[in-house]
């Protein structure tokens, strides 16, 4: 019996320790440094407040101007073609992801920008985003789009929806 007790003790110490994660010194020199992307999930996650339809993320208030900001549209279109077009068409047909037609009518601008810039958290916590995942079955990738770039894409979406 004594023996057994001893063995159990040893067993307990076996699993006990291990070095902690090394401290990460934040050194934000690159857009893709370890800190930035790794930290983004926590950093962007402002209190979940999905009820207001704005989604979850850094974007809480977007000011939309009329007429449309032409400079943004040009930049937004270029980003669309490079990072979004592979999965999203501009009509209402779903390929990998939903078509963009009428998206600015269906969603609040904040929701759209949070979906683009904070997609991992949105897919994990936002009910509307989760419904889309159930429909499409492919997780929307994080395409490393900045808040500013997402705003440009939003302007391009507004134009695509017929706003002037």
């Amino acid at each position: 019996m004594k023996k057994l007790f001893l063995i159990m003790l040893i067993g307990a110490t076996f699993g006990a320790c291990g070095p902690d994660k090394p401290k990460q010194t934040s050194e934000n020199e690159d857009a893709d440094s370890y800190e930035n992307i790794h930290g983004s999930e926590g950093g962007n996650a402002v209190a979940a407040n999905a009820d207001d339809g704005k989604g979850i993320g850094q974007v809480t208030e977007v000011t939309l101007n009329t007429p449309l900001e032409q400079e943004r549209i040009g930049r937004g279109k270029a980003i669309y073609e490079m990072k979004c077009q592979a999965c999203h068409r501009l009509d209402n047909q779903r390929v990998v992801g939903p078509g963009w037609k009428e998206v600015t009518k269906r969603r609040k601008p904040e929701w759209i920008m949070n979906m683009v810039t904070n997609v991992d958290v949105m897919l994990d916590k936002d009910a509307e985003a989760q419904k889309l995942l159930e429909l499409c079955l492919t997780r929307m990738p994080n395409q490393n789009v900045s808040i500013g770039d997402a705003r440009d894409v939003l302007e391009f979406m507004r134009q695509n929806d017929g706003e002037k």
Binding site: G18, D20, P22, K83, A86
Partner: protein, 661 residues
């Protein structure tokens, strides 16, 4: 009750057996202590304390391990092709392995040097040597990728390499095999003494890491083995171990082991720099390749260089000094203070420790015992600080812990011996299983060792692991050196056959580890930044496919108009911008390999369309729930069949259209 008791003691015995068996399957276990497993244990989801950057020896690669767990994270192909990710097979990476002998797909990689500033690790690059077709490589520690390879002219066997000066001013590369160099190399082997020369190349490293041979010292014909730069007070000097001072050219096993003492060669490289600046260097013809990987184009280029600057031995009188060292010295290691130089004669039964100060005095006072090939030989006693007596058999290499202790590996007696640098007394010894070669203390070669562990890289494995036929994994062992006594805490298997390795704290590399390549910065000439830019173009017999990959489709995924005999280049851009989402590309019948394309990167696979038919291609790296759908077809038509170039994704056609084409 009795039954229960019996049952429980049965369980206890089973536990004991299991515990012993699971820690150490076989072999001597005297060195193992009770808490060993917990010291090497890194819980699931936790990180290791150190990166261990380990040479792969004859696999031509570098292994990246975690310490203290011994877990293998990555294999970096350096001098060897790697079909797993396309290194040496993709059009972008082929130039990395170009040499004056053409494409050389293999080498023997022995030693690692991590870049330093003020003699301390700075986490920028790792350097590695290729022995067989002499080369030095630089690995970027942000991307863990080989980014530069420089070939070395006038070298045979680049073993004594790639050791660095304390601010990474120079990487050295010196010859193991002396060979005839210059205009007349077609000479009798028996004319070794007269015609064979060693060379020591000083490779300048600029602030971006780029390497250039600044000058070569031409030395008498001997074998250079290993080297270390001076540091602190000895910065400006470099120390090389030499053997075969007998200048034998056959049966070296016997003929190069005649003398009681060979040499450690001390080189005043600051003086050499002065001579070069004074124009004493001689430009000679040479032919060697310089290969650079360019991050912005994801592509490598290879340039053949035509000349090299040399310093003649006649000029070397006050650059080079020989120090006698018993017997066939192998390791030549400088302690963190820079004052002590430890020579390890692999056939010797003692370890001489030389003093930098005494060497300087001996040179000033001309305390020479004679000359070797016209160069001064300092008296042994004049350079010697002291000897570690009866340390063990066959000392090879020495590392340091920063607390005044040295750790020397002993191949013949299979042990690590800890000794004090100041009083030269042996403090502790532990057995290794079996026949240790190199050893590594984190930061051991720097001015500021991180200490904590010593790792043994053993040459013989025998019964340490489950047998796998005649060829066994290579055995490394981790010892805790935080206490007075060294404690064995882990065995771990390694790939290839490790020689030297370094270890660096995880927090020095982790924060700057690259996650993706930004699409915006991609300047590959065949990039498709978005599906709108995908296309198929014919240029004579070449067909260039500008393809994109994103979860989970390839664009285009239907290609027609390729003709039998065409060379098809698939330029695949991964449109993902998220960490850890590579895509792969493979096509039926490819004679090379697959390619792995990191997020935002463009890579090219060349495919010979040698027969007609329809050939599937697909993504090889599991990427999403619909990975198995990530595929395409390429049609190859007979030369006379007039099928136009046509490509699409997601387009369905009337099945009868195009029939008969």
């Amino acid at each position: 009750m009795k039954t229960i008791h019996k049952l429980m003691s049965g369980v206890a015995i089973a536990c004991v057996t299991f515990a012993i068996y699971s820690c150490k399957p076989a072999g001597p276990d005297k060195a193992l202590t009770g808490d060993a497993a917990s010291k090497a244990y890194v819980a699931p989801g936790k990180y290791d304390e150190f990166y261990n950057i380990v040479s792969g020896g004859f696999n031509g690669q570098i292994g990246i391990y975690g310490l203290p767990s011994g877990r293998l994270f990555k294999i970096i192909p350096v001098f060897s092709t790697f079909p797993e990710n396309g290194y040496g097979y993709s059009e972008e990476s082929k130039p990395m392995l170009n040499t004056s002998n053409g494409f050389v797909p293999w080498d023997d990689l022995h030693h690692i040097s991590l870049s330093t500033t003020n003699g301390e690790h700075d986490g920028r690059w790792a350097f590695a040597n290729g022995n067989n077709t002499p080369r030095v490589a630089r690995i970027d520690l942000k991307t863990f990728k080989t980014v530069e390879i420089l070939e070395l002219p006038n070298s045979g066997g680049n073993h004594s390499s790639p050791y660095i000066t304390e601010n990474t001013e120079y990487v050295v590369a010196s010859t193991r095999f002396s060979i005839p160099i210059g205009d007349n190399t077609d000479v009798p082997i028996s004319s070794y003494k007269e015609n064979f020369k060693g060379t020591v190349s000083f490779i300048k490293v600029d602030t971006s890491g780029h390497m250039k041979i600044a000058f070569q010292l031409v030395t008498p014909g001997v074998n250079f083995d290993l080297a270390r730069a001076g540091k602190g007070p000895s910065h400006g000097w470099f120390f090389f171990s030499c053997y075969n001072t007998e200048q034998a050219y056959t049966l070296l096993e016997v003929n190069a082991s005649q003398k009681d003492k060979d040499f450690i060669m001390a080189v005043n490289w600051k003086k050499a720099e002065e001579y070069i600046q004074a124009g004493k260097g001689k430009t000679t013809k040479a032919r060697y390749a310089h290969n650079i990987h360019h991050e912005e184009t994801h592509s490598a280029t290879s340039t053949i260089l035509q000349e090299v600057l040399q310093l003649d031995p006649a000029e070397l009188k006050d650059i080079i000094y020989f120090i006698p060292c018993p017997k066939s010295p192998h390791g030549c290691d400088v302690d963190p203070s820079g004052e002590y130089i430890v020579g390890s004669g692999k056939l010797a039964a003692l370890i001489p420790v030389f003093s930098f100060n005494k060497i300087q005095q001996a040179i000033t006072n001309k305390e020479f015992e004679g000359e070797f090939a016209g160069l001064p030989v300092i008296k042994y006693e004049s350079a010697l600080y002291g000897e570690v007596t009866k340390p063990g058999l066959g000392p090879l290499h020495t590392e340091f812990d920063g607390n005044g202790n040295a750790y020397t590996s002993f191949f013949v007696s299979s042990e690590i011996v800890k000794w004090n640098i100041k009083d030269l007394k042996v403090l502790d010894r532990v057995p290794t299983y079996y026949s240790i070669g190199h050893l590594c203390v984190p930061g051991g070669p720097t001015r500021k060792p991180h200490g904590k562990y010593v790792i043994a890289y053993n040459k013989i494995t025998k019964d340490r692991y489950l047998p796998t036929g005649p060829e066994l994994t290579q055995s490394a062992q981790l010892y805790d050196i935080s206490g007075e006594k060294m404690k064995l805490i882990l065995d771990f298997p390694t790939t290839g056959e490790p020689h030297y390795a370094e270890a660096i704290p995880a927090e020095m590399l982790m924060p700057k580890s690259r996650k993706i390549y930004r699409l915006e910065d991609n300047q590959h000439p065949y990039v498709a930044k978005g599906e709108g830019q995908t296309k198929v173009e014919r240029k004579g017999n070449e067909v260039h496919v500008y393809m994109t990959a994103i979860r989970s489709h390839l664009t285009p995924d239907n290609i027609e108009g390729i003709k039998q005999g065409d060379d098809v280049y698939f330029h695949v851009t991964n449109l993902e911008q998220d960490w850890d989402v590579p895509h792969g590309f493979a096509i039926k019948g490819a004679n090379n390999a697959e390619i792995l394309i990191m997020p935002g990167e463009t890579q090219t696979l060349k495919w010979k369309a040698d027969r007609t038919g329809v050939f599937p291609y697909y993504c090889t790296d599991f990427c999403s729930a619909l990975h198995q759908e990530m595929q395409g077809y390429a049609r190859v038509s007979a030369p006379g069949n007039n099928v136009p170039i046509k490509y699409s994704t997601g387009k369905t056609e009337d099945p009868t259209s195009g029939a008969g084409q």
